[in-house]
Symmetry: C2
Subunit: 243 residues, 2 copies
């Protein structure tokens, strides 16, 4: 449905505002130069798929701006959204570095600017700066940590508490605090994807939100949540199962 990625004029990596958070921080001039010459920055629209599970990797993507979702689908067509990728993070590093097929698919969720970095460039860079390996290992470890935490949350928390936790983490990036202390958070994904992110059916998501609204713990309007001060919803945090 959406159109092709539209190339944008490259920002030099040296002055890239998010590079300091990527694996490409602290690299040599030469390596940075190679990156500058071969990267392909482009604008992507929601719905565009960067790669599918099983595809061979042509390279990795660095998120400059926007939001991308990592999805995994089983044989019966059930799917979960494993995680969201925000600016400063990279996508597809595993497949590129290990020259292995993708194990997940990646789909643009918000209008985004991504730098595509061809496999050859990545391999050339890790050859020259061995420190890069350590960075990617950190990234892998971080992804592993968050996925393990997700396993634990999904196994022990109710949908409601999982949602609270998710909105809590969102609030760091997508939240604003009003004068009265209430917090408004912009949820950057559709209801369906929100459900896929919590590992439940869309209907269950709807009902959970309904329940929260009914008791006034928060107000959902479209993709916006408003949590009252001393939010009966967020600050309650993960408690016992039935609350």
């Amino acid at each position: 449905m959406p159109c092709r990625p539209e190339p944008v004029s490259p920002t030099p990596c040296a002055s890239c505002p998010v590079r300091g958070e990527t694996e490409f921080r602290g690299m040599s001039e030469a390596a940075l130069d190679l990156l500058d010459r071969t990267k392909r920055p482009a604008r992507y629209l929601p719905g565009q798929v960067l790669f599918h599970e099983g595809d061979d990797s042509a390279g990795m993507f660095a998120v400059y701006d926007g939001l991308v979702g990592i999805r995994k689908v089983d044989a019966e067509g059930n799917s979960v959204l494993l995680r969201l990728i925000v600016p400063g993070e990279t996508i597809g590093y595993r497949s590129t570095l290990l020259r292995a097929p993708h194990l997940t698919s990646a789909e643009v969720l918000q209008p985004s600017v991504l730098c595509f970095i061809p496999s050859a460039t990545v391999h050339a860079m890790v050859e020259r700066s061995p420190g890069l390996y350590a960075r990617f290992l950190e990234r892998a470890a971080s992804d592993l940590r968050s996925t393990e935490e997700k396993v634990l949350r999904d196994a022990t928390l109710s949908v409601r508490h999982r949602l609270a936790h998710f909105i809590n983490t969102l609030s760091e990036r997508y939240g604003y605090i009003a004068d009265d202390g209430s917090v408004t958070v912009e949820i950057p994904v559709s209801r369906q994807d929100l459900a896929a992110l919590m590992g439940v059916r869309p209907e269950s998501m709807s009902r959970t939100i309904r329940g929260i609204e009914d008791e006034g713990a928060a107000r959902f309007t479209g993709r916006r949540v408003e949590v009252p001060p001393e939010g009966g919803f967020l600050s309650s945090g993960p408690r016992v199962r039935g609350l």
Copy 2:
């Protein structure tokens, strides 16, 4: 409850039967020599804890023989068994390499022989053989993959199907095929841990097993399962939700 680890006489790494599957395959003589001089092989008994979540890492463990479980516990005391570590795998590499606290705990589940490798040794080795980083990245990627698959399975499959899948994977290491084609699998963990591995309560595990027995899809006796030929249970594989 169980006693201390009991040191065993070291097998030289050069003739270690499982080294070919570890990250320490294909290393230089010198590095291997360092490993030989500083590793501390010992025998461990079920129940012994190698480290707790939050502990600083003193080094990593290589599993020579036996079985270790990786556990994660939340604030309310709920816990899941994230994965089992079998011979040829390493434990605690993340914390050691990144000099970060452990994010999970590790508990011996079967009588085991483990080589403890002090942090200093690990760091000295990765300094000298940069290829080691690639190996650990592979390991991290592999752990990430299996954890992502677990998220998907837990979200989409019934307890029964998750159990079938688990026994299926166990059968590769712990299964024997009888003359009549039936498969017997040794389950190397307690019922409690089996439940924690599936992310359910022990009672639910009991009932699930009961249900499978009642319809003759398999026979459970203690820690042994016998699945009849053309196993109505394993080969059925993950199907629809309700089967």
